[in-house]
């Protein structure tokens, strides 16, 4: 019987990471940005029905980049986690922090134990009423979790978008300004004009009662971008 080839753990992890990164950077970027009245989610998405952005709970939303089937099942698991917690305790007990931690745990386990790593990067954001600060968590394919301030970018050429946003982003922009900045940021990396039909836009609007998540439909988008 031939002996199995020996691969050092470092090599194996590195290979997996490279594989995952390659898969994630193939897609297009998604931007999450804090604005005056909440948090804006902006994605370049040619599909009208296969969403990259989704509501999770009253104040929490989700964005995924990479392989659709993989982040879709993470999204569903997140909604189940949140709904279960809100049902068993109270609606106010559901927090982005606990959700992000749960994601981090399960994605970390999958990265180290499965042969094929997840080719996804996800964002979980929570908007706060009044004085509390918003929370944005970015969770990587290997379960690494980062706490982001102001804006965050996942998928595609995320580094380039981040560099673009670094100088141009300022706190307290209104919805119109932050939306325009997001469009510019994505266009700067793809070097083409984005079609409005291909934009997936949603907000966590602090001003709404109960469920803060709202999708911005094409009519409103045209007005906002004019």
């Amino acid at each position: 019987m031939p002996l199995p080839y020996y691969v050092s753990p470092e090599q194996m992890m590195q290979d997996k990471a490279e594989y995952a990164q390659k898969g994630i950077s193939k897609g297009r970027s998604t931007i999450v940005m804090e604005y005056e009245d909440g948090i804006l989610f902006f994605a370049d998405n040619p599909s009208a029905s296969l969403n990259k952005i989704s509501e999770v709970y009253d104040r929490i939303a989700f964005a995924g980049a990479g392989k659709y089937s993989e982040f879709e099942s993470l999204r569903k698991a997140g909604i189940r986690h949140a709904d279960l917690k809100g049902y068993a305790y109270s609606r106010d007990d559901v927090s982005a922090k606990s959700l992000a931690n749960a994601y981090s745990q399960s994605m970390g386990t999958m990265f180290s134990q499965e042969i094929k790593p997840l080719e996804v990067e996800i964002l979980v954001a929570e908007v706060h009423d009044g004085s509390g600060a918003n929370e944005i968590y970015r969770i990587l394919y290997d379960g690494n979790i980062c706490d982001e301030k102001g804006y965050a970018v996942i998928g595609g050429k995320s580094e380039a978008v981040k560099v673009f946003l670094k100088d141009k982003y300022r706190a307290g922009m209104n919805l119109k300004e932050s939306l325009k900045l997001s469009v510019e940021a994505l266009e700067s990396t793809v070097k083409t004009k984005l079609e409005k039909e291909n934009m997936e836009v949603a907000v966590l609007d602090r001003g709404r009662n109960g469920r803060k998540f709202r999708r911005i439909k094409i009519d409103e988008l045209i007005t906002l971008l004019s």
Binding site: S49, E55, R80, L84, G86, Y87
Partner: protein, 266 residues
């Protein structure tokens, strides 16, 4: 593979969180059965159609046997933007079922990206009531009314249920609970298709008033404490609460009319 039902998820993964718990034989002795009868019970709820949709209402009393256990209990719950559930029966189980239905509808909407049809919502509720049958046999009966605005058909819809989960659609109005029969009499007398919203609200409140006159379990308007029945209106633009000032005005006029006619009789 998972489906999009929160209820099914609870059944398979967290059965302890379900409203219904099956009791074993030793727990179902006649003494315990008496005890179960004395848990708080909700009384009269009703729903009726009007020109633009459907009105759903309920009084605020809960009883424990012959005692009043709560004066401000809420029996009409918003399920989502286009539907509501009104409950009568064992209050604890009822409230939990209403809460579970709310989560169920929201869960489905988030997972699938679309809302269920009115028919679909009513059907899901029917399955929950059916699952409650073992408890119902032991005395904890849950009998709701489900009302919604059907966006496809552009009309209000009313569903009533029996204890086995049987689901029946009503064409005009329905009332259930301990004073349900009395409320139905008033509804039957004065209901006409295509009523205005004001007329519909008035009829709902008058029916509850009449039920309170005949049934010990049903509360009339509590003018001293300022507690009035809950009324919600569901139409094309969504669900709205009728504010207590409107309800108070309707009742004051109703009581004034009744006083006048009583004086004439004397």
């Amino acid at each position: 593979m998972w489906n999009s039902s929160f209820y099914d998820y609870l059944v398979s993964e967290h059965p302890g969180l379900l409203p219904q718990k099956e009791l074993n034989n030793s727990e179902v002795s006649s003494v315990n059965r008496e005890m179960l009868k004395n848990v708080p019970h909700g009384t009269t709820v009703l729903a009726l159609k009007y020109k633009d949709g459907v009105i759903i209402a309920g009084d605020r009393r809960a009883t424990e046997g012959y005692q009043i256990s709560a004066r401000r209990v809420e029996k009409v719950y918003r399920c989502d933007d286009y539907s509501a559930i009104a409950i009568s029966g064992a209050a604890g189980a009822c409230i939990e079922m209403a809460k579970l239905l709310q989560v169920e509808l929201e869960h489905y909407e988030k997972l699938e990206g679309v809302t269920l049809t009115t028919e679909g919502k009513a059907n899901k509720l029917s399955q929950m009531i059916k699952a409650n049958l073992p408890l119902a046999m032991q005395g904890l009966i849950v009998i709701p009314i489900f009302a919604g605005y059907d966006l496809n058909k552009q009309e209000g819809r009313i569903y009533k249920y029996d204890v086995t989960g049987g689901r029946y659609e009503e064409t005009d109005y329905y009332a259930t609970g301990s004073g349900g029969k009395d409320a139905r009499s008033t509804l039957k007398k004065f209901f006409s298709p295509g009523m205005t919203e004001d007329k519909g609200i008035q009829l709902a409140l008058e029916s509850l008033y009449d039920a309170a006159e005949e049934d010990v379990g049903t509360a009339g308007p509590d003018l001293v404490r300022g507690i009035y029945p809950t009324v919600k209106v569901i139409k094309k633009t969504g669900i709205e609460d009728v504010d207590s000032v409107t309800i108070e005005t309707v009742y004051k006029r109703l009581i004034g009319d009744k006083q006048k006619s009583a004086k004439k009789e004397r």
